[in-house]
């Protein structure tokens, strides 16, 4: 894996072993926060940030971590990174900080980050480990944002509502009323909708894989 070309790695993390759709890691924030694009995008970037910061700090000190207490140290580094993110958000994006609520501190126990920190950052070459972390984080975030967009579209008929919460004043106009419906499918923004849409996404991915496989067999 460590010597695999970059494109292969990208395909592997974004599609074949996608942390959200295939490994089903970090499902709790994935399901709870993906009610709108802006929430999903915020949590995705926060997760990516934590992933990179914790990876980098482990890379720096990995030679001096005693093997027996590596997990507590890893968790502490991750939670330090989470605290930084949380404080930054509290200072600059207070509204989002309130919306994301408990799911911001819960990034600490996101399985994707722990695996990255424990299995990849400790063993791989520094640059490769950072690449890997970045791509895995993007793979997780992509699904999160896609899920948020689908749920927002089904549940409200619009896309990119309240983007100013993340990108600052002036971006309110990004809101795009795709469908003009009197009665949107409210269930999509409620918890059951998260499971339903995620299930459909996983099914869609499997179907595409099956089709590709069938075609390659024929061809």
């Amino acid at each position: 894996m460590s010597n695999a070309p970059l494109t292969r790695l990208i395909f592997d993390s974004l599609w074949k072993n996608n942390p959200a759709l295939v490994q089903l890691l970090g499902l709790c924030p994935l399901l709870a926060v993906s009610t709108s694009t802006v929430n999903a995008l915020s949590l995705a970037s926060a997760t990516l940030f934590v992933l990179l910061v914790s990876n980098a700090s482990i890379l720096l000190i990995r030679n001096v971590i005693p093997d027996t207490i590596r997990l507590p140290i890893t968790i502490m580094l991750i939670s330090a990174a989470v605290s930084v993110t949380e404080l930054l958000m509290q200072a600059h994006r207070y509204q989002l900080y309130k919306t994301l609520g408990i799911f911001l501190p819960l990034i600490t126990v996101n399985g994707v980050i722990l695996i990255q920190a424990d299995a990849v950052a400790r063993k791989k070459a520094p640059l490769a480990a950072l690449y890997h972390g970045l791509i895995i984080g993007v793979g997780f975030g992509a699904v999160l944002v896609l899920l948020g967009a689908i749920r927002e579209l089904l549940g409200t008929g619009a896309l990119f509502t309240d983007m100013h919460l993340l990108f600052g004043a002036g971006t309110e106009t990004w809101r795009w009323q795709v469908l003009k419906v009197d009665y949107p499918l409210l269930v999509a923004t409620l918890p059951p909708g998260a499971f339903l849409v995620t299930g459909c996404l996983i099914a869609l991915k499997n179907q595409i894989d099956t089709n590709i496989e069938r075609r390659s067999k024929l061809g």
Binding site: Y183, L185, L186, V187, L190, P192, L196, G199, A203
Partner: protein
């Protein structure tokens, strides 16, 4: 009478309904007729539309899964599910509500799990729950029963289906709504104030439930299902209502008769919770299954956010069914 019966059986044979499906549809007939009598032809139109959607949906899914679509369309179980769902939906619901309901019950409730016989949750109730949390306004718009308001004609109903809003069906609070929203009135005062309420249950509701009870007894006699689950459910509701009733104060939960004969009690007892694939397997399991549903229904009715609760109660207990089955597995007899 015998001619009528014969011709119904004849129709069922022509439609290639299995005996069980035929009996279930037959048993739902009296309840549907009484509902049509009290609330107008809305329910009938719902059932017809829902049936068409269900058949088309079954055909499409069979084609998608590369099964023999003709053979799959012979399985009319989709028709049963859609009929049960449409009986539960409010009459004169907009067409898209029925479409969405039948599609979600067929696709999300049944087909994603592998089709008829593999569904862990009652498909009709999956569709109902999705509609209820998505469109609460449309789902609680029950028309006033005959006698209190004008009931739309059949032609009006069809016209309403094509262009929603062409009839102003007078919606009224159902008896369960009235009781739930009541904050300060004694039951006697509430009775005087609201014409929809009667001493038994509500205008129309009592008779509808009675008709479904009749249909259920017919199914019991035909041995379509055992008595355990429905009787346990009714017993649990009776017990809870007995405990919660204090002869009609404002905080009272309604009398036993009121709970047994209002809302969807009898319909759910004999047509919904008896689904052979989602019900617990053993006799003891069925009793636990039924009484859990009854208990939950009473709880949600009296202190929940929704007036009637069968969809949620049935779905919640369906989650527990594997566990109930595990705990009540009959011991293998060592011979």
């Amino acid at each position: 009478m015998s001619f009528f019966k014969l011709s119904l059986f004849e129709i069922a044979r022509k439609l290639r309904l299995s005996p069980v499906q035929r009996d279930v549809l037959l048993a739902a007939l009296p309840g549907t007729i009484v509902m049509t009598g009290y609330f107008g032809p809305g329910t009938l139109v719902n059932i017809l539309l829902g049936g068409l959607v269900a058949l088309a949906c079954g055909y499409a899914v069979a084609a998608l899964r590369a099964r023999d679509a003709i053979a799959a369309s012979r399985d009319l179980s989709a028709l049963i599910t859609s009929t049960l769902l449409c009986i539960a939906l409010p009459p004169y619901a907009p067409w898209w509500l029925i479409l969405l309901g039948v599609l979600s019950s067929e696709l999300l409730g049944k087909q994603v799990f592998g089709g008829q016989g593999y569904h862990p949750f009652n498909p009709a109730m999956v569709g109902y729950a999705i509609l209820l949390i998505s469109f609460p306004a449309q789902m609680s718009a029950w028309p006033s029963p005959r006698g209190l308001a004008e009931v739309p004609s059949f032609a009006d109903t069809i016209r309403h289906l094509i262009a929603p809003g062409t009839i102003d069906a007078v919606t009224a609070a159902t008896p369960l709504d009235l009781l739930r929203q009541n904050t300060g009135l004694l039951f006697e005062e509430l009775l005087l104030q609201s014409p929809e309420l009667t001493r038994w249950a509500g205008v129309g509701w009592f008779e509808v439930n009675l008709a479904f009870l009749l249909g259920g007894l017919f199914l019991l006699r035909r041995q379509i299902f055992s008595w355990h689950a429905p009787i346990a459910m009714l017993a649990a509701i009776t017990l809870c209502a007995l405990i919660g009733y204090d002869a009609g104060s404002s905080a009272s939960g309604g009398s036993v008769i009121f709970h047994l004969f209002s809302g969807a009690t009898m319909f759910a007892a004999f047509f919904i919770i008896t689904d052979p694939f989602c019900c617990a397997k053993s006799k003891k399991g069925k009793i636990i299954f039924g009484s859990l549903i009854g208990f939950l229904v009473y709880l949600i009715r009296v202190s929940g956010d929704y007036p009637d609760a069968f969809a949620f109660a049935v779905l919640i207990v369906n989650f527990c069914t594997p566990f109930i089955d595990y705990c009540t597995k009959p011991k293998a007899v060592n011979t």
